[in-house]
Subunit: 581 residues, 2 copies
């Protein structure tokens, strides 16, 4: 392991644990800075159009995206454990915000800006609460297949949402009526569509063909990254100049970003509307959950590549405070963005200093060039969103998943279809519920094996799979899972069913090697099983009981109730003592 | 094991599996009949007042309880796997029906009789659906502590609900206002209260002191049971005669049961109101769940005492059809009743023939003596309910549970308080959610042990608990649970954390002896862990991989990715091959 990084990231004092920045700042070098300053500029180039575009995607004024790109990355740099993650507005959270703001009970309240700020504040508080309760593990219950299905579904919705902007169409009037949709599409604006397609073409060229060409020119890798990531900036500048030069916003009605308040955000707590907080809470919960899950996933991808580590609980803290910071500075919800983080990483960022530099550059833009930002055509921003979002639609992944585990495949497909048909939050809920129900169902049927001994060893294996020795008066069982309310009845029923198949059994020996915990329900079931066996003159024994389990059993009368049954230290010892051949 | 019973209950053909009655009828003997006829009469004595009382408790006309005591027990006798369970109206389901009928959205629809019948029909369908999907295991997720807390809470609500009937008070006008309640109680009717207290006293005398006296008289046990179970019948007859003789229903306004349609139920499907079905569905789900869980618990208690077995899935079928039968015959929801079943069992019932006899007796009563049943004072029925319900309030159990497992204690208390404060369904939901969340949380932190070898053996144990041999270049880990989305991240993090504590590790060997399944998420995490370790020049190995898991891994490229890491058959073999001392 790389000891420097571990010293910086994890072995330090509790202060470093809470402020990971202190870890890397201590050993910050010239070399780190060289990487960071280049990556910082490249990432800043992406931050401006993405900030505006994702605000547009959420149905919010541009400054909510820009403000979300200023204070939150600084906060994350202080508290976050990822060295290279770029925190700011992200597309999936943006479409979730749009969905929340469109919900009838929220929509009627008006003032979407305030609602968006409340969503961010609540999301931040939820993440902090999860950190305090150490509930980070619960988000594991969004399994990878569900997350992939969700991301694909949300991305498809994003793509659909961008078509009107790209083609310069008015607000969509028809939902599923095909004729209506055909008529609607025919209303497209030639100029806007032209600018949009031009942007798409340039962006596509920058996304792949350009780097191939540049690598033939034998340029250095980071220079190639640098140049090829300039695509978004280039199309934005190009199309904005086009609009400004020909006054297209007036002559051809090309929709542009419009009014942006110049200057840096002003800190404010002017969003404490209790009724709104209540109504927005469930939406905030979903957004926070997805923001956290996607951020940690991205952080881990980059950390793994450099052999660094992510502390999931500290990430809850860092993202929680970042979302509070965005709310206070009037921005929208933030998370780690996949494309931005990969750009930052591959442009050579070593530490969060890169993001601090990017924020500096962005701030200058927000202060001095807002006039120009207002003229960016929306169709260009849609093109930027589309190019960023296409790789997130992973339909073929469903087949791969299905082949490995059909249950997981079903969950992935159901989540995808749920998002598309029922809605974003509903689809995610469906996926999570499916995962939990199928998990509970699986758990309620634990694996138990009837075992026998491999000749001349002390090893016991499943009698269905191996050639093993057995004893006519013994039923040997290995319980492969913890015993809890979820499976207690099943285990008792299993023992009785196996007994019903055999005659002459005098002893049942349970190997508890995999049992780390027995809860109240399971304990009562174990007592019942023992009583039931005693009624049939069969003696129950336990073996390989772990320390913590034994401690609990000793607290009760169970060991006396068990008599003449015993608890053996080793399974083999029990068999040698009780087996008759 | 008792081979006759197993032959009857489980080894027979599929026909016997579906109609367990065929199992015991084949070997039905004179001795069986002697037990059954006595128990049948005793149980019938209980069925009449309980049927009327539980209908009253649910806020329904008496015949819904009586009808529920006729067809459903006959159906259960055909399909049920318990020999002695008495299926019919039960108190907990009754209060849940009352709660559903009182819900504003149901109440406004009017016609509570129709609603109650729909609840039963829907409950029956839900149970059958669970049987088809083999989801019986899911009800395990009502853990014993939650079930106990729920039963205690619901029983307290029942007790409170009976006070007005017992004292002859009008409908309660005040909820939590103490002064109002004091004034309200002062409105009690002397005559009604007198009859109620007389009933309570007689019932209490029959419940315990009488059997003690009778056993001093050296009577046979079943005779003692028979006599002491006549309490409810006796008070009903006594107080009804009192009312009839003095016309108390008119002179002293003693409330009586009132109009009962004479005769047997008429089968009908006249309850197919689709809107009501939708609104009642969640309530029906809760009632069905509790009916099933309590029935199986009671069935198991009596079956265990006679070394018989209950088939949980067949119980879903039997209770499902029984509830459809009650709906078609115009009755309320049914389940196995605890007190009635214990009476039937201890009066010497051998088979469901006892219940068939009881139903015969009850039917005669319903046909011929409805005029008398109408004059039963409600206060007497309240006394019957109270005596049956008191033992179900188990407050001290919370302390016992808490001592064994504090988490379970919290769940029990929370469910109890939830039922009392939030409502019946809400309290139950709270308890189930608490159980599932704490279970998921526990599962997301599986037990993993760093192990070493006990000298001169092939046995490996936790290095924190045992004196074991270790190797400086090996990290030996035993994963004690299945690897799934719930804990995949945790396991990876655990390995990295343990590595960070050590230096010089060349091999990480995971003992998969407890791993029966690896889902998609966990598989991807395992791949990531392997990549991460390879980046640090550490080799990952697996050992004791089970057959089904190996089958899955061979389907993927993982075994190649692992190289030079290997999969060892035995853990000890891996250690001997790779360990350097």
């Amino acid at each position: 392991m790389d000891s420097k990084q571990h010293a910086g990231g994890f072995k330090g004092s509790r202060l470093i644990r809470f402020f990971p920045i202190l870890g890397w700042l201590k050993t910050y070098s010239r070399e780190d800075f060289n990487g960071d300053i280049f990556a910082g500029f490249i990432t800043a180039i992406l931050l401006v159009p993405q900030g505006i575009a994702y605000a547009m995607l959420a149905g919010l004024p541009p400054q909510l995206g820009l403000y979300a790109s200023i204070l939150p990355p600084v906060i994350y740099a202080l508290f976050g454990t990822s060295r290279t993650m770029s925190v700011g507005p992200v597309s999936i959270a943006a479409i979730m915000i749009a969905s929340a703001l469109a919900a009838p009970e929220i929509n009627t309240l008006g003032n979407p800006v305030e609602s968006a700020v409340i969503l961010a504040a609540e999301g931040g508080l939820i993440l902090l609460l999860m950190a305090v309760l150490r509930m980070g593990g619960l988000v594991n219950f969004i399994s990878h297949p569900v997350l992939t299905g969700f991301t694909s579904g949300a991305s498809i919705l994003i793509i659909i949402s961008q078509i009107p902007h790209l083609l310069g169409l008015p607000k969509a009037p028809c939902s599923f009526d095909i004729n209506c949709n055909i008529e609607y599409i025919q209303l497209f604006s030639t100029t806007t569509t032209g600018i949009g397609l031009l942007s798409l073409t340039i962006l596509f060229f920058f996304s792949k063909p350009l780097s191939v060409i540049l690598s033939h020119l034998k340029l250095s890798n980071s220079l190639i990254t640098g140049i090829s990531k300039c695509g978004p900036l280039l199309v934005v500048i190009l199309t904005t100049l086009l609009v400004a030069n020909y006054g297209l916003q007036n002559t051809a009605s090309v929709a542009t970003v419009g009014k942006i308040t110049p200057g840096l955000p002003i800190l404010s707590l002017n969003f404490l509307d209790w009724e709104k907080w209540q109504l927005l809470l469930p939406y905030a919960g979903f957004i926070a959950l997805i923001a956290y899950v996607e951020s940690v996933a991205i952080a881990k991808v980059t950390a793994n590549l450099r052999n660094q580590r992510i502390d999931p609980n500290q990430e809850l803290v860092a993202l929680g405070i970042s979302n509070l910071a965005t709310a206070i500075s009037g921005g929208m919800s933030v998370a780690g963005g996949f494309s931005r983080t990969m750009v930052n990483f591959s442009a050579g960022a070593h530490t969060q200093m890169a993001m601090l530099i990017a924020v500096g550059v962005l701030s200058i833009a927000v202060i001095f060039v807002t006039g120009w930002l207002e003229l960016i055509p929306k169709t260009t921003l849609s093109a930027v969103i589309l190019l960023a979002i296409f790789p997130l639609v992973k339909l073929r992944n469903i087949i791969t998943t299905w082949r490995y585990d059909s249950g997981d495949g079903v969950a992935e497909l159901a989540t995808l279809l749920g998002v598309l048909i029922l809605g974003i939050e509903e689809g995610l809920t469906l996926g999570i519920l499916l995962t939990i129900v199928s998990f509970l169902r699986k758990t309620s049927r634990p694996h138990i094996a009837v075992v026998g001994r491999i000749a001349n060893t002390e090893h016991y294996r499943n009698i269905d799979r191996y050639q093993v020795e057995t004893w006519s008066n013994l039923l040997l069982l290995r319980v492969d899972e913890n015993i809890s309310f979820a499976n207690a009845e099943y285990i008792g029923d299993f023992v009785l069913k196996e007994l019903a198949k055999r005659s002459g059994i005098q002893h049942v020996i349970l190997n508890f090697t995999s049992v780390s915990h027995i809860d109240t329900t399971a304990f009562e079931a174990l007592e019942n099983l023992n009583l039931h066996l005693q009624a049939s003159k069969i003696i129950l024994h336990l073996a390989e009981v772990k320390g913590p389990v034994m401690d609990k059993l000793e607290q009760t009368d169970f060991l006396e109730e068990l008599r003449p049954g015993k608890v053996f230290f080793r399974f083999d010892e029990a068999v040698r003592n009780l087996g008759k051949i």
